[in-house]
């Protein structure tokens, strides 16, 4: 039976009609084969306009319609809903964009009218071959996975769990807390970081809806929004947390000293250790990298002294499989590698520190119990030079981006230094001060006014050790003067980088990274917590350098997004997915290899589409040499007819 098409040309006031002769377009379309009705109206999107479409479909028994109007990003849904209201399928309506693509970009009326006619004819050709489709419905596993147990991951997990959904929180270190637990006091209010974070860490470990998996890493993720499957590797800690009483006898006898990661190498720890006193879970971990052997003959000292017999050398790595509906990635940051900043003597001179090491010196629970002492000789430094942008904003040699938080934490460092060493002097080399944030500018001003911190605008040209001092040579570009400071200590505000392993994880999760290796959001303005893969959300410094308030805000945003999935029983997926014409498919598998979503597989020598995974991108379609696989409603036969119509026959 011959299909009947209706065409509706919108004036959009004078937005279209000012440059396009809409009556002429409607007349031309009326002559186009298959078009049964062609009309124009001043505002198609208005209620009377929509009713005109609905009535026409009903009265003329139209099979499909084209509305020639503004961009489909604006009113495609409006008119598809109208089509549905009139009793035909949503996909039996197409939009011809004659405003953004025509009337607004041209002035010559006759040329614009001709172009609008071609665009509309092209849409008619498309709609006439559209299939009627219904959204694909999929059930939802109503639990979430959060990867990374820093403040962002903790906040997201708590928000989701408090809504009543189960959460699995995976952290690769022995304790949750991330970098925030290493900090001393936090700008701009100077709250003690551990004091405000540890209650949340406890809450995470006690929450009935949260399954906390520390010392664990995600190995594999498969599935799709609403139905992901995660394989999680739980590394053996060789200590049973339920038996361990935290008596600390084991560390006394352990003969192996290793670098303490928590204190960033400023101290050592034993091979069996607890990362810090408030660690969650509160238990010890045996670091196999240092232990001479998990057999009593090799050493066995810790097991000998462990009264509750908590130490179990036979513990094995375990792979745990979990099913979840949505995933939040909050893997945070690391600091720019020492090797890259040797020009500052970083990694070479003991008294050149990075910001996190300085946090540990400031911390009451740190290696010096909060006294500021030089690592080299344990003397109190009287002149300290802080250098901002170490590795940031340097596209030639280092990272091109601004690490955003260093201006603020350097101001904090200089201020706290003065609170500890009253007769000391702090100097800060900077390029610009970026203190946008509530109370931030006032905080920076305080360092200058109350603590006499000297800000020097300029770059450091040379740093070297000389007779127990660290000589810092630089230029004050405001005064045009050379500066030489005999410093006792130098603290570098090193750039923030995506955490180690972030790119491997991104590959496993199929989420994109930006040019700097941070996880990429779906839209820089409108979708800042979503990744491009649906059901996967981003939180915290994994997405870009951030301070705590921003990390927390984004985490709550990501949690809310995850909940929009978990709160539904079923999800709906666009049905414009790939479809295989079995008798054409030779099973060559070329399409299987190119599909960005692993939606294709070979079965009995033919390709099969997982309609839930398929995003309808059409990469397979352009790859298949036999036109055996096509995305519904953008088939080659449609495109060829559109080309014909666009070229005017």
């Amino acid at each position: 039976m011959k299909k009947k098409t209706g065409v509706f040309v919108c004036h959009c006031g004078i937005n279209i009609a000012g440059t396009v002769d809409v009556k002429k377009v409607a007349e031309e379309l009326a002559k186009h084969p298959g078009v049964d009705l062609s009309e124009d109206y001043v505002y198609m999107c208005s209620d009377p306009g929509q009713n005109m479409v609905i009535e026409a479909i009903k009265e003329k028994k139209l099979d499909n319609v084209v509305v020639a109007c503004c961009s489909p990003t604006l009113h495609e849904t409006t008119f598809r809903n109208a089509a549905k209201a009139a009793g035909i399928n949503n996909f039996q309506c197409e939009i011809a964009n004659i405003r953004e693509q025509c009337s607004w970009v041209h002035k010559d009326m006759s040329k614009a009218t001709l172009k609008a006619t071609k665009i509309t004819k092209s849409a008619v050709e498309k709609v006439r071959q559209n299939e009627s489709l219904e959204p694909i419905s999929i059930p939802v596993t109503r639990r979430a996975l959060v990867i990374g147990g820093g403040i962002a991951g903790i906040q997201a997990a708590l928000d989701i769990a408090n809504t009543g959904y189960e959460v699995i929180l995976v952290e690769r270190n022995p304790s949750v807390g991330g970098h925030m637990i290493q900090l001393s006091e936090t700008f701009p209010t100077l709250d003690c970081s551990q004091c405000i974070l540890s209650p949340k860490m406890v809450e995470v470990s006690k929450h009935p809806k949260i399954k906390l998996m520390t010392y664990s890493e995600v190995q594999e993720i498969s599935g799709y929004v609403g139905n992901f499957k995660a394989k999680i590797l739980q590394k053996p800690s060789y200590v049973d947390p339920d038996k361990c009483t935290l008596c600390d006898e084991c560390t006394k006898v352990c003969p192996v000293v290793m670098t303490d990661e928590f204190d960033l190498g400023l101290t050592g720890r034993k091979a069996i250790y607890i990362p810090f006193p408030q660690a969650i879970p509160a238990t010890y971990t045996l670091d196999i990298r240092g232990c001479p052997g998990l057999v009593p003959i090799a050493c066995g000292k810790c097991a000998d002294v462990c009264e509750p017999e908590a130490i179990d050398y036979d513990m094995k790595a375990e792979i745990i499989e979990e099913e979840v509906g949505s995933i939040i990635v909050a893997t945070g940051y690391d600091l720019y590698e020492k090797e890259n900043l040797s020009e500052y003597g970083y990694g070479k001179y003991a008294d050149v520190l990075d910001g996190l090491q300085f946090e540990r010196l400031l911390s009451a629970s740190g290696p010096t119990q909060g006294k500021i002492l030089r690592p080299s000789d344990h003397k109190e430094p009287k002149e300290v030079v802080f250098i901002q942008c170490a590795g940031s904003r340097d596209p030639e040699l280092h990272c091109a981006y601004c690490s955003k938080i260093c201006c603020m934490y350097t101001a904090k460092h200089a201020m706290l230094y003065k609170h500890h060493v009253h007769d000391g002097q702090a100097y800060i080399f900077y390029i610009d001060i970026r203190s946008g944030g509530k109370g931030y500018e006032e905080f920076v001003q305080r360092t200058v006014e109350e603590d006499g911190v000297v800000y020097l605008r300029g770059k450091v040209s040379k740093i070297f050790e000389d007779k127990g001092k660290i000589k810092v040579w630089g230029v004050d570009t405001l005064l045009g003067k050379n500066i030489e400071i005999d410093a006792d200590m130098v603290v570098l505000a090193t750039a923030m980088r995506p955490s180690e392993g972030a790119s491997e994880l991104a590959k496993k999760l199929k989420i994109a990274m930006d040019k700097d290796g941070f996880l990429a959001e779906a839209h820089p303005k409108l979708r800042p917590v979503e990744s491009v893969t649906s059901g996967l959300f981003l939180a915290g410094a994994a997405q870009a350098p951030k301070d705590i308030p921003e990390a927390v805000a984004q985490a709550s945003g990501a949690a809310a997004k995850a909940i929009t999935i978990l709160s539904q029983e079923r999800l709906f997926h666009s049905p414009t997915v790939a479809k295989v014409t079995l008798n054409l498919c030779t099973g060559c598998g070329m399409c299987v290899d190119v599909c960005p979503y692993d939606a294709l597989s070979l079965k009995d020598g033919k390709v099969e589409v997982n309609e839930v995974l398929c995003e309808g991108c059409g990469t397979c379609q352009a790859t298949c040499l036999r036109a055996a696989i096509n995305v519904k409603n953008t088939t080659p036969s449609q495109v060829h007819e559109m080309i014909r119509a666009s070229l005017g026959g």
């Binding site: 025509c102 970009v105 172009k115 666009s646």
Partner: protein, 140 residues
């Protein structure tokens, strides 16, 4: 002849970047020659070489393929496939003897209305001196 010759261009635009970028040119009321008819597809990676040949067969004087910038494809890597495929098509068309100016590929993001305007204007300027495309045109 060249004076009143109006080249006919087909522009295959990916929905997420280039089509959005060309819409932005409209929203910003930028002006470019009306010689181009856009065909929006989901991704530059879905543009089959056959579409390009077909457009030339049906008399297009120029064909443009435009997608998201490398690394920004909505479908992660569709435009990488497109880039490779288009490079081959370009070679093939040149081998056949088609003027290389007739077939272009560009990266236009959703924010680059100005760039799209420029590309179309330059394309039309480049096509006018070449006159109508007859090499691949079939008398339909």
């Amino acid at each position: 002849m060249a004076e009143n010759f109006e080249p006919r261009i087909i522009a295959f635009l990916c929905k997420w970047c280039s089509s959005a970028g060309s819409d932005l040119a409209g929203v910003s009321r930028m002006q470019y020659p009306p010689n181009v008819i856009p065909i929006t597809v989901m991704c530059s990676g879905s543009i089959s070489p056959l579409y390009i040949f077909d457009a030339f067969n049906k008399g297009a004087d120029g064909v443009l393929v435009s997608g998201c910038h490398p690394g920004d494809c909505h479908y992660i890597k569709g435009n990488y496939y497109a880039r490779r495929r288009i490079a081959l098509v370009k070679k093939l068309l040149e081998f056949i003897g088609l003027e290389p100016e007739r077939f272009q590929m560009s990266w236009v993001s959703a924010a680059e209305g100005t760039k799209y305007t420029q590309i179309i204007s330059d394309f039309v300027d480049a096509l006018i001196p070449l006159g109508p495309q007859t090499k691949l045109r079939r008398n339909l």
